[in-house]
């Protein structure tokens, strides 16, 4: 059977809700499954409560054509058909839909809660449901002689966010790792509905605090799409510069942490400091090491005068030179390389099926990067070359980060030299009512996807945030299959995923 057509838009654009084809849920499921099998990938798959009841929305990315395919279906019953067996990349989206709206994903192989949150339904339906704590429900268990279980978290040994990891082991060998999250759930999406209001931008700046620019830029692009007015060139350039500084800081930190995990201390020590030097460049720009206050609907909250741009450029070159010498030591150490290579393998086929994004996907040979595939703002005119590797191991995930750092450095350098004239920020007009807008911003972990649905007054009826970690936690679980339990810290660092970005 041929799949029914879906509407097509570009990322960073809005479409009237009425223009999105409304299909029976079985037909939407077929269209989504067929599209995924045909090479598209889900960037958002979620439900929204409207006046006419619940509605299921699919947003699929067609990377080669730089398009997004959209479809929707009414959900009149208390269940919807699960596609997780056919399209594993949808498995967590379906669990999320089921949890957020008290539905059943029919035929889902593992219908466990995602965050242990009460449903996004009006009271008293929400409060009537008792919610267990994460990790308290039944977890997957391997039975057999000499099989043992190792539980870690939610409170970990390092300075890190909480999550629970349950390993099914035979000696040192890991059969299966189950990752249970939700400890960080702060009610972000519930609070975003009805906005925008004075807290909206702060919710998104703290959705994942290490990705402040990535999420705030995605939000700005969604709002600008709804208002039908892109950010002025100068504002877009400043946001792009901040986005790449965020990538430089985090990739440096990750490479240092990986070196630390294999006890290669020179790179670990130097990178710990250099990461802070990159954060200080963001502070030079906007006063905050994490880019708070910079990305705003309508452009950038801070401008960059000539002298500051020069300070930024010289600081960038100095810091990058330090990073280069610190990181090249790592590649030159055979014992460190030996530990990274062939550890935590995620084959290309698996990465594709799980729908991985960001450096984790590119390290498994998937050539996907929203800056090139779905460019918005400055990236439309000044593409950043995409870095990939093909071994799918911890080494590849480290190597891709270093390749990306070099390209980010060149990009920021060039953009600082050619800052467009004009205002950094303009006022944003009213939102289009009854519309849907999507933004995809390639943050340092991968694409941050924001989808806004507006009501008749242009307010957010539903605001969906998909952090790249939402796609990638399954990749980490996979990387541990058949590995040794002592590989876990190394694999974990090589993904370095967000807990709060997942838990929202």
């Amino acid at each position: 059977m041929s799949a029914p057509p879906l509407a097509r838009i570009r990322a960073g654009a809005a479409i009237p809700r009425a223009a999105i084809p409304e299909l029976p849920v079985a037909d939407l499921a077929e269209a989504v499954a067929a599209s995924c099998e045909g090479g598209l990938r889900a960037v958002a798959y979620f439900a929204a409560a409207g006046a006419a009841g619940l509605e299921l929305h699919a947003v699929l990315a067609d990377d080669p054509r730089s398009e997004l395919a959209l479809g929707r279906a009414p959900l009149p019953g208390r269940s919807f058909p699960s596609l997780a067996r056919r399209c594993p990349q949808l498995h967590l989206f379906e669990r999320e839909i089921a949890e957020q709206f008290a539905l059943v994903a029919e035929g889902h192989p593992d219908p466990a809660p995602v965050r242990c949150q009460p449903p996004l339904l009006p009271e008293p339906a929400a409060s009537a449901r008792a919610v267990a704590l994460p990790g308290a429900e039944r977890l997957y268990r391997v039975e057999g002689p000499e099989v043992h279980e190792v539980g870690v978290g939610p409170v970990h040994a390092g300075v890190i966010e909480p999550g629970h990891f349950r390993f099914q082991c035979h000696g040192e060998r890991v059969f299966h790792l189950e990752i249970r999250l939700g400890y960080q759930h702060r009610g972000l999406e519930r609070a975003l509905a009805g906005g925008p209001d004075r807290r909206t931008i702060h919710y998104l700046e703290t959705a994942a605090g290490d990705t402040t620019i990535g999420h705030a830029t995605a939000h700005a692009e969604v709002v600008e799409a709804l208002a039908g007015a892109p950010a002025p060139a100068r504002g877009a350039a400043l946001r792009a510069i901040a986005l790449e500084l965020e990538r430089l800081a985090n990739h440096t930190g990750d490479l240092g942490a990986l070196a630390g995990d294999v006890a290669y201390l020179p790179t670990a020590s130097f990178c710990g400091r250099i990461r802070g030097d990159f954060l200080n460049l963001s502070a030079e720009l906007c006063g905050s090491r994490f880019g708070r206050g910079l990305a705003r609907p309508g452009g950038s909250g801070f401008d960059l005068e000539g002298e500051r741009a020069e300070r930024l450029r010289s600081g960038l070159d100095r810091t990058f030179a330090d990073a280069r010498s610190a990181i090249e030591l790592l590649w030159g150490s055979p014992s460190a390389m030996e530990r990274l290579e062939a550890t935590g393998l995620v084959p290309r086929e698996v990465a594709s099926q799980l729908g991985l994004v960001g450096p984790a996907a590119r390290a498994s040979g998937l050539d996907r990067d929203a800056r090139r595939d779905h460019p918005a703002g400055l990236f439309r005119h000044h593409p950043v070359p995409v870095a990939t590797a093909d071994s799918g191991d911890v080494f590849a995930r480290a190597r891709v980060r270093w390749l990306e750092m070099q390209r980010s450095h060149a990009f920021v350098r060039e953009r600082l030299a050619e800052l467009p004239a004009g205002p950094a920020r303009v006022a944003v007009g009213a939102h289009a009512p009854e519309s849907l807008a999507v933004a995809l911003v390639e943050g340092w972990r991968g694409a941050n996807c924001h989808v806004a649905l507006t009501d008749g007054a242009g307010r957010f009826a539903r605001y969906k945030v998909v952090d790249p970690s939402f796609h990638n936690w399954s990749g980490l679980a996979w990387a541990l299959r058949g590995a040794e339990i002592s590989d876990f810290p190394l694999c974990n660092k090589s993904f370095n995923l967000s807990y709060c970005g997942h838990d929202l």
Partner: protein, 259 residues
Amino acid sequence: MLELLRTRFAQGHRTLAYPAGPPPALSDRFRGHPVLAPERCPDGCRECAAACPTEAIRVEPELAIDLGRCLFCAECAAACPAGAIAWGGDPRLAAREREDLLVAAGREVRLARALDEKARRLFGRSLKLRQVSAGGCNACEADVNVLSTLAWDIGRFGIQVVASPRHADGLLVTGPVTGNMREALRKTWEAVAPPKIVIAVGACAIAGGPFRGHPEVHDGAASTVPVDLFVPGCPPHPLTILDGLLRLLGRLESGGESR
């Protein structure tokens, strides 16, 4: 090996001279202690309070900012028609009492005072902390982590983040304390042997941050454990955290000064 030594030489010794030497230079755009000029407030104006995302500002009976709730976003200064609020560059913000975080013109600024003598004898030269993120967004966590890098090196002061509450003298809490983390925070606190201290780092851990009032969170660490030091910021600058820790341990000469 030669390359390693060459790199080591080129990277140089980069640990801060502070507190023996000057503190690190901060960006001129850094937002530290606010400076209020209520005499400039137009009659009946509430623009600053209306712009504040976390209800950190009151205008009655006098203009005041609660740094415990403040995200340092400066929306208030942008909204003020009269320039009555300015954001200064002083990073010293930590306080021992929650009410000491209220800033008003003419009100004495009470920086964090040191622990009492007995506690200082125990912790003054060796303070081991277990970090618990209870809904933190990884910004506070990241800048707490920075303190252990060679640039800041809090090991110099005998302060260390340890892997187990059983090894710790106290907790350093970040995040608004989510409903899903409250039990884990309480258990971690109970696992620390007394006497013990708790340090709340960041707007979320002090008062809930942007999530204040959400049914999913408990509006800060004090909801669940007794707090001995509050470090404001979203996130606090590492220097703000270090300043608070050193004052708590009585390791800054000017422990109880006011500005």
